[in-house]
């Protein structure tokens, strides 16, 4: 006769203890209650004081100011903006500028960072020392110092528009920024752009196809000639069929400044340069640590299979190193985005500069403006880290780890 397992005794009190106070039980509950009381009291004080102070200083509260007319100009706008637009529009203009400088900065920082890291790991003694020196120098100087250095000392030392340095007679460098030829659309634009998109899609699909084929049959297709052929051939074909897509408007010096062409503001150049070189030094160290975390035997195994050093790095070492690299790399991307707020020091119209700077001083609504600014950066941070951890999770899955 089987004895039925007795159910465990009902521990309602213990369950309640755990529910209310975590592992610390009643003591935890008391601590929590005290904590909540203290928090409630502090927030009440803060709220009360803020209300009194705002009333005494005649500062409006609420988000009504967002629909008021801003009335100031912004030097670089990617989306249409005039002085009669509202503060909401200013906010969007700033946000787009921040995102632009972050994305471009992240791209260059990653490229420079990988190059410096590989240089530092290079068997060439001189190169590794130079890369090490770069990292040490750049990491030990404040970012704001570097931004100001690029802006005031380097770009400020460029000649006036009249004596500007010209590259091939079409790109001009002066202390007003870079003037480059701007494309003006003509009849064949649509066809050209469509061909370009198709070419890029094919170029992206070909490696996938080659990979699948490699896994299924073991044959490694040589695809790079096809990729280049498609990338160059299709647009050329489009030009041949539809005619010239656009002509370039060459900037020319008229009076004291340039007419025509597109202008890249010196603030933007200085900020991008400083952000990408600064972050690159940190990325280089992260990449180096990641590559060194892959066992030496992996490199030797690759060599014994007859792979070249580059191929071993690309196919064997880097995929394994990426697991170590990705989390801190995400942090650096976030840092770069957050650091782009230093644009306020040199007057590049990023989110912080136009919103927490100009808008705050015009409206005086410190609480709302700073809360929105902080919230946006927080949101960017959270979204980026979510994206990167998703990528990390995918890599981890594909590695079977």
């Amino acid at each position: 006769m089987a004895i039925e397992a007795r159910p465990p005794p009902a521990q309602y009190v213990a369950k309640l203890r755990r529910l209310l106070g975590g592992r610390s039980g009643w003591k935890g509950l008391v601590v929590q209650l005290l904590f909540v009381a203290a928090l409630a009291w502090v927030s009440y004080e803060v709220f009360d004081n803020a209300r009194d102070n705002l009333r005494n200083q005649n500062i409006a509260s609420g988000f009504g100011f967002m629909s008021q007319t801003a009335g100031f100009g912004v030097s670089q706008t990617l989306i249409p903006y005039t002085e009669s637009d509202s503060y909401t529009r200013v906010f969007l203009v700033g946000l787009v500028n921040t995102l632009l400088v972050s994305v471009i900065g992240i791209f260059f920082a990653t490229v420079i960072g990988f190059i410096v890291a590989l240089g530092r790991l290079s068997p060439n003694w001189l190169l590794s020392r130079i890369a090490g020196g770069y990292v040490e120098l750049v990491r030990n100087l404040p970012l704001l110092f570097q931004i100001l250095f690029w802006y005031l000392a380097v770009l400020g030392a460029l000649p006036t528009p009249r004596q500007s340095v010209s590259v091939f007679g079409s790109i001009f460098l002066s202390n007003r920024g870079f003037v480059v030829p701007s494309p003006i659309a003509e009849a064949g634009t649509t066809g050209f752009l469509v061909a370009l998109v198709i070419a890029i899609v094919i170029a992206l699909l070909l490696p996938v196809y080659a990979r699948r084929r490699l896994f299924n049959t073991g044959h490694l297709l040589k695809i790079w000639p096809y990729v280049i052929g498609v990338l160059i051939g299709l647009p050329l074909l489009a030009i041949a069929i539809f005619g010239k897509p656009f002509h370039f408007e060459i900037p020319a010096l008229r009076g004291f400044n340039f007419v025509g062409g597109a202008r890249v503001a010196p603030e933007f150049v200085a900020l991008t340069l400083a952000l990408s070189t600064y972050t690159a030094a940190f990325i280089a160290e992260i990449v180096r640590a990641g590559i060194q975390s892959v066992h030496k035997g992996q490199m030797e195994a690759g060599a014994s299979l007859g792979l070249s050093r580059g191929a071993t790095l690309r196919l064997v070492v880097v995929p394994q190193a990426l697991r170590v690299i990705l989390p801190p790399l995400t942090n650096q991307y976030l840092n770069l985005t957050k650091n782009s707020s230093l644009a306020v020091a040199i007057g590049y119209p990023d989110l912080f500069s136009v919103f927490a700077g100009t808008t705050l001083s015009q409206t005086g609504q410190a609480i709302e403006v700073i809360a929105i600014t902080m919230g946006v950066y927080l949101l960017i941070s959270l979204v980026t880290s979510a994206l990167m951890s998703f990528y990390g999770w995918r890599i981890g899955r594909s590695m079977g780890a």
Binding site: G22, N49, P123, N124, P142, A157
Partner: protein, 500 residues
């Protein structure tokens, strides 16, 4: 056998010596193996040499060879007067040197800054040398006594009251504020009224509880020398409390003596700085600047962010749900926003949150923001250290009957902190560099002074900017590089047992 012997070959003459193997050590070996051993490497070496040639040679030329060393104004640094292309304009740095170091600190009072710097160096050096004795005393002096002395040296001013009065003021203010909150809540009616009344009762009970303290304060304030009366009262009460807590007549004597000695030390400082008679003339923080601000902000930030970081790290690992959630939220919030928004928050928003009659100095506001920001970063570093400590350590401690606080304070935390010294130094370096951002909220730190000095028309030459940046860059580099090397040294020392 004989066949073998006959055919055995015996060498008649010596085998010619083989060539020595190619050297792989020394300079020649380095050149051969690591610079010129393959066509790729040769190209890379040439590229490297070119890179060095185009960066190092112009820098050296600019900083030393073409530099101008003496002069009174911009004329000395112009190519026309110097007769050659002009590099760094060092007279500019010489002229602005005191501005870079002290900002607008009044000239006759600058000895106070020098004295503070000297004291800091005197206390910091033995703290950094592992072999120097009396680490506990040294650390206590540096982290607790020095900041107070430095405050009175740099800022000036005297004291009118001491611990007893401050505690009484703070507690009565707290109780009063709770009472006000309760009264206001009671006006809203129904449930809120009930809660408000309850809070009012609590406040009243607390007021009765702290009555002896407030009475003592009133007594002290009415005496002829309030400061000395307060100091004496504090010395007696604190020493007695410590004496009773640490074991009374049985083994509390040592602590009693230490406590009395501490108060005697405080009395000596008060007499030396004449704090009881108004102290040194006050120099407002608006007139501080240059390296002084940079160091004050970074040192205060480093010291103040440690306890915040430790508290947050413990909170994040706490088993009490609300504390954990709050810590996580707090850390993630401060880590998700740029420091510059934190500084703006501290400068523009913080004053709105404080009572209207309560003003707070601009520098202090910035310090609060930086301490909170750095505390959140430190918390994550320290949490890493806490996670590295095996559970067995805490379990062993609780098996010995130690409480949570003793387990943490005596067993877990010392090991955890030791683990994360390099990480902490990294965040200190980051903090030191980030202090340059205070120049955006109108404090003239080293970088701010540099920018201000560029506006001077007396020194505007084409190379002034580069000279200023070179000089300030060197200062920043020396501090940051020094810190990072020191952390490597400590790491190496602490890991001595791991080396094989």
């Amino acid at each position: 056998m004989s066949e073998l012997a006959a055919s055995a070959f015996v060498a008649k003459d010596l085998v010619p010596p083989r060539n020595a193997p190619v050297r792989t050590t020394g300079f020649a070996g380095l050149v051969r193996t690591r610079l010129l051993n393959s066509p790729t490497n040769i190209i890379l070496t040439i590229l490297g040499i070119l890179l060095l040639y185009f960066t190092v040679v112009p820098s050296v030329k600019f900083l030393l060879i073409d530099a101008v060393w003496t002069g009174d104004n911009r004329d000395a640094c112009l190519a026309e007067t110097a007769g050659h292309t002009v590099g760094a304009c060092w007279p500019f740095v010489e002229a602005k040197f005191s501005q870079f170091i002290y900002g607008f600190y009044p000239e006759p009072e600058r000895w106070r800054v020098d004295l503070t710097f000297g004291l800091a160096a005197l206390l910091l050096l033995p703290l950094l040398i592992p072999r120097a004795p009396a680490k506990g005393l040294n650390a206590g002096l540096f982290f607790i006594a020095f900041p107070v002395v430095a405050y009175f040296l740099l800022h000036g001013g005297g004291l009118h009251a001491f611990v007893m009065s401050w505690t009484a003021d703070m507690l009565s203010g707290l109780v009063g504020s709770i009472g006000t909150a309760g009264r206001k809540l009671a006006q809203y009616g129904s449930v809120a009224a009930l809660a408000g009344t309850a809070i009012g009762w609590i406040a009243a009970a607390l007021a009765v509880l702290i009555w002896p303290l407030t009475a003592l304060r009133d007594l002290i304030q009415s005496s002829s020398h309030p400061l000395w009366a307060d100091l004496a009262a504090s010395a007696v009460i604190v020493s007695l409390l410590v004496f009773v807590i640490t074991g009374g007549a049985r083994n509390g004597w040592r602590v009693l003596l230490t406590s009395l000695g501490l108060f005697a030390g405080i009395a000596v400082v008060i007499v030396l700085l004449e704090l009881d008679r108004g102290g040194l003339p006050i120099v407002g923080t608006r007139r501080w600047g240059g390296l002084l601000i940079t160091l004050v902000v970074s040192v205060t930030g480093i010291v103040a962010s440690m306890p915040i970081g430790i508290a947050l790290a413990l909170g994040r690992r706490s088993t009490i749900p609300l504390i954990r959630v709050f810590s996580v939220g707090f850390i993630e919030f401060w880590r998700g926003v740029p420091l510059i928004t934190v500084l703006f928050f501290a400068t523009y928003m913080l004053p709105l949150f404080l009572p209207g009659n309560f003003t707070i100095d601009g520098l202090v506001r910035v310090l609060i923001g930086i301490a909170l920001f750095a505390g959140a970063y430190n918390a994550e570093v320290i949490r890493g250290g806490l996670q590295a400590i095996p559970r067995g350590q805490a379990e062993a401690a609780s098996a010995l009957g130690l409480s949570y606080w003793r387990t943490t304070g005596l067993v877990v935390m010392p090991q955890a902190l030791r683990h994360v010294i390099p990480g902490l130094v990294n965040s200190f370096i980051a903090l030191f560099k980030d202090t340059s951002l205070v120049s955006i909220v109108a404090l003239f730190d080293l970088l701010g002074s540099l920018r201000a000095s560029f506006a001077d028309p007396v020194w505007s030459t084409p190379t002034t900017l580069f000279t200023g940046f070179a000089f300030t860059g060197m200062i920043y580099f020396v501090f940051c590089f020094g810190m990072s090397r020191y952390s490597l040294f400590v790491e190496h020392r602490l890991n001595a047992h791991r080396r094989t």
